[in-house]
Amino acid sequence: MKNHKLFSLVAVVVIFAPVRVIAADVKVIANGSMKADMISANEVKSVFLEESNSLSDGTHVEPVLEKDGPVHEAFLHEYLAAGTNDDLQSYYRALVFSGRGSMPKQLGSDAEVVAYVARTKGAIGYVSAETGVEDVKTLTILREGNGAQRRLVTRVEPDYPDTLKRLNIGGTVRLQVSIGPKGNVDTVEVLGGNPILGESAAAAVKQWVYTASRSRTIAELSIPFDSHH
């Protein structure tokens, strides 16, 4: 009976798994000393393009990239809109040779990135959503809208069903949230990711409270579920 239930659960997961998984393949990680649990996608872009070396809360950050490979390509596509890796390298070289910036740290694998981020204060990187990330913080990414200007006051962590965790089924769930003027999350829509995890994330995010604002905010969130954590 237990096996039957497990089989049904796995079947549901497989059937409803999103076909286009590029967006869910990457998670953004940071050194454990970082205060923020959540940053905006614009901040990620700004930090990795060396337009900024601190977050909106003043925390100093240092980007670390992967040299190449599918995770790097997915990150470029999703966060930097920088075209190809060659375009990105040219961008960095333009900074280096005109005295406007430095070549960021570039490492060869997820494991190297995790190890570097874990030991380097302020480091921020990205790895495959499937990679185990001990000793680092996985950041929630606020994707679009003007939500970055609204600070999260109350955060409730989503439930991660044991069965899925045991089966190493994780990844990133994308949500669209509507935050009312008083800071309550009024509506949540699951945009992508595993549907069961999506439901869990939506239930948690509905309990989040942001700072008040004069108008309603529509924003996108990426909630990571790390089966190795």
Binding site: N42, S46, E51, S52, N53, S54, H60, A81, G83, T84, D86, Q89, S90, R93, A94, V96, F97, S98, G99, R100, G101, S102, M103, G122, N146
Partner: protein, 413 residues
């Protein structure tokens, strides 16, 4: 033939070896990481008829070399320092006299406000501050109507300070980047304009002065589209000696020229979609100068624009093309007007240079590329402000058309 193949293989192996040794790009100094980067490029130009860019190109010339080495370090969370040395030889220009290309201390308070001071590369148009970095672009030579390589010193850097920043606009209207600067420009006596003046018997000892201006660019909400505008004002003085134009046999007399009005406006846009990129820029340079201590005055209106397109066929191969159009109109007033009749008809080859260009670029690896480029030029826009064609290397006069083949390779680390 075997010898040639052996030479090519040796050259390739040398470059590979150089890359292996140059991969160590960081070291620690006082517990801070110092990055070291550099580049070297070598070109060869062959042209029919006119000699171009002060090289003896009609015979084929490889006097087209430049290289740079820089070091930089993030000293504190907000302060970064660095410097770059640069050297080049372009025909009669540069002549391997090294220069400090940039040396800056950059303090970024916030993403929307930072200050950098020292010798700073001037932000102007799409490519002014990166014009030496051959490996960043498809083309071997940038459009000479807007980025004349022989006049690189005129705009490349200033000794002074910039304020800069980026501002994200609300309502998803994109990002605005601004730079404002003021400083001192100092041209090498081995640069294009002093060389040009030497054709009149002038020997320039110093050339430079105050520059101030700004740049504003907008990364629009349309993905891949950026537009911008730059402005530069100058008060330039040149001093030296020259043959007295009224008594050529009387020997040298003191020469001076200084700006009465000197400004440049540039408007630009670029659009990138997938593997395709299109750029366009327009530059107008207005130059009103007093010559020979105010006894004469020169008014030059120099205008250039280009449209370029580049496409990456695959990871290793890019192709590109541009059309570049340059015109110069000049009037001399005062005592020297007898020697220089008004030159305002930009349809004449002497007052324009229209250049059609096609290029292929091959990336042998991430650090090393080869380019092949064809230039098909009409006109030679030779004065009173130079634009690639000089009488000293064309003593029998100019042909109206010039075709040139440019081969270039560059290596960076």
């Amino acid at each position: 033939m075997h010898k040639r193949v052996r030479s090519l293989v040796s050259l390739y192996l040398c470059f590979q070896a150089a890359q292996i040794t140059l991969k160590a790009q960081e070291f620690k100094l006082l517990d801070r990481t110092v990055q070291v980067h550099g580049f070297v490029s070598q070109g060869f130009v062959y042209s029919n008829d006119n000699n171009w860019l002060t090289m003896n190109t009609s015979q084929g010339s490889g006097a087209f070399t430049d290289f740079a080495l820089n070091m930089s370090s993030q000293v504190t969370e907000k302060l970064r320092v660095g410097a770059q040395g640069y050297d080049r030889n372009l025909g009669q220009l540069g002549q391997y006299h090294p220069s400090l290309d940039w040396a800056v201390a950059d303090y970024r308070f916030k993403s929307w406000f930072g200050i950098r001071g020292g010798k700073v590369k001037t932000t102007f148009g799409l490519y002014n501050d990166t014009q030496d970095e051959d490996f960043l672009r498809t083309f071997a030579l940038l459009p000479q109507s807007v980025y004349p390589t022989d006049l690189r010193d005129a705009t490349i850097a200033h000794l002074g300070a910039d304020i800069y920043g980026k501002i994200s606009l609300t309502h998803r209207l994109g990002v605005l980047s601004y730079t404002a600067y003021a400083g001192h420009r100092s041209d090498s006596i081995y640069s294009g304009y002093p060389y040009y003046l030497s054709s009149f018997g002038a020997e320039i000892k110093s050339f430079g002065g105050l520059q101030y201006g700004g740049d504003l660019r907008w990364n629009t909400p349309v993905k891949g589209l950026q537009i911008g505008v730059s402005r530069l004002n100058e008060h330039i003085t040149g001093k030296g000696s020259a043959i007295n134009p009224f008594a050529p046999g009387a020997g040298l007399v003191p020469y001076s020229e200084s700006s009465k009005a000197d400004w440049t406006n540039q408007f630009y846009g670029e659009y990138t979609v997938g593997k395709f990129r299109i750029d366009s820029e327009y530059r107008r340079y207005w130059r009103n100068q007093e010559l020979f201590s105010g006894t004469s005055e020169s008014f030059a209106d120099i205008r250039g624009w280009y449209v370029s397109g580049a496409y990456r066929i695959c990871k290793r191969l890019q192709i590109g093309s541009y059309y570049s159009r340059y015109t110069i109109s000049n009037i001399v007033a005062g005592a020297l007007s007898a020697f220089y009749p008004p030159a305002t008809n930009t349809n004449l080859p002497a007052n324009h240079d229209y250049d059609k260009v096609i290029t292929g670029r091959v990336d042998l690896n991430r650090f090393w590329n080869l380019k092949v480029e064809g230039h098909f030029m009409n006109g030679y826009g030779s004065g009173p402000y130079p634009n690639g064609f000089y009488t000293q290397v064309n003593p029998s006069g100019f042909a109206p058309n010039t075709n040139a083949l440019v081969l270039k390779t560059s290596l960076n680390f």
